[in-house]
């Protein structure tokens, strides 16, 4: 039941934003090809801690301000307590900031920052314009399939998401 309600919530959010995105003029052509492979990052605490409940989302998918907000509210992390000891928390934040979308120049970072306001600090990657545009062809019902769960579950369709491979050609949407 928990999953179901949550799924509906995510669906509604993603759906609404998709509709909005459709009505906005898009500067970038859709289906801009594959080749989306993120550089492999290694950081012990980031991999160990962030990947215990979900994949370790790439730091380049959100700006620094988002990561600061995220790491400052781990005791209420999307409705769950994900608190860490202060040393580990600070160590991970340092890494996230150094590799954020608006930190070191990266292809992913530039895409994510397109249309992002200077003061924007979204907590959900799925709410960035980049994510919404990239997934606008995914039908609403697909997100709530039991095999997917929610849009937070990258690896449901991007089977090699854990390895940073988001290549469009490698996408397999489960039944």
């Amino acid at each position: 039941m928990n999953y179901l309600l949550r799924g509906i919530g995510v669906l509604a959010t993603v759906g609404t934003i998709s509709l909005l995105a459709f009505s906005l003029p898009s500067g970038e052509a859709r289906g801009d090809g594959g080749g989306d492979v993120l550089p492999r990052l290694t950081h012990k605490n980031w991999q160990q801690e962030c990947a215990s409940c979900h994949i370790a989302y790439a730091p380049s998918m959100l700006p620094k301000a988002s990561w600061r907000r995220m790491m400052g509210g781990l005791d209420k992390h999307f409705g769950e307590n994900a608190s860490l000891d202060p040393a580990t928390q600070a160590d991970i934040l340092k890494f996230l900031e150094a590799n954020a979308a608006d930190a070191a120049p990266s292809k992913m970072g530039r895409r994510v920052m397109q249309g992002m306001g200077a003061k924007d600090a979204p907590l959900r990657i799925t709410e960035t314009r980049w994510f919404v545009r990239k997934h606008d062809e995914v039908p609403r019902a697909t997100w709530s399939r039991k095999s997917v769960g929610s849009a937070a579950n990258c690896a449901a369709c991007h089977r090699q998401a854990e390895q940073g491979v988001f290549d469009e050609d490698a996408v397999r949407i489960p039944k």
Binding site: M1, N2, Y3, L5, R6, A51, S52, C53, H54, I55, D75, G79, E80, N81, A82, S83, L84, D85, V148, G149, S150, A152, N153, A155, A156
Partner: protein, 137 residues
């Protein structure tokens, strides 16, 4: 004096290994939780541990939630997080890595008791919980 130094050295070592989360066993954790609760290990109850695991509480959004919500009814099975990632089984008979790292055990009790019970668990409850899981064949 030398004996005193030796003893405090041993105590220090014990503390360091506890902090570093060095090798624990379900039994050593039970002993530690019992000591913290001020009861003998024999006072830990697998029955109470099972009840703690299965009892549903009103979680956020007033939805019923228990340990079993994510870890499934059978702790020998793998569970799933809310975003669909696999959780390795909780029972040591199915997953020998469980209850071997004190820091990890404490981290998850702190997080999950707060999520499920809206409060932290007591040492007695943690001891009961380990007692139940570790006797599952």
């Amino acid at each position: 004096m030398i004996k005193h130094l030796f003893c405090s050295g041993l105590a220090m070592l014990g503390m360091v290994s506890a902090v570093a989360g060095a090798a624990e066993t379900p039994a050593s954790l039970m002993a530690r939780y019992a000591a913290t609760a001020g009861v003998p290990v024999s006072a830990l109850s697998a029955t109470r541990g099972a009840a703690l695991y299965r009892t549903e509480h009103s979680g956020r959004n007033a939805q019923a939630v228990s340990c079993a919500s994510c870890h499934t009814d059978n702790p020998k099975q793998a569970g799933r997080t809310r975003v669909g990632k696999r959780i390795e089984p909780l029972a040591p008979s199915a997953n020998p890595e469980r209850f071997t790292d004190a820091a990890k055990v404490e981290k998850w009790f702190r997080r999950n008791c707060t999520d499920v019970l809206q409060r932290e668990c007591s040492a007695q409850e943690k001891g009961d919980f380990v007692a139940w899981l570790s006797q599952i064949k």
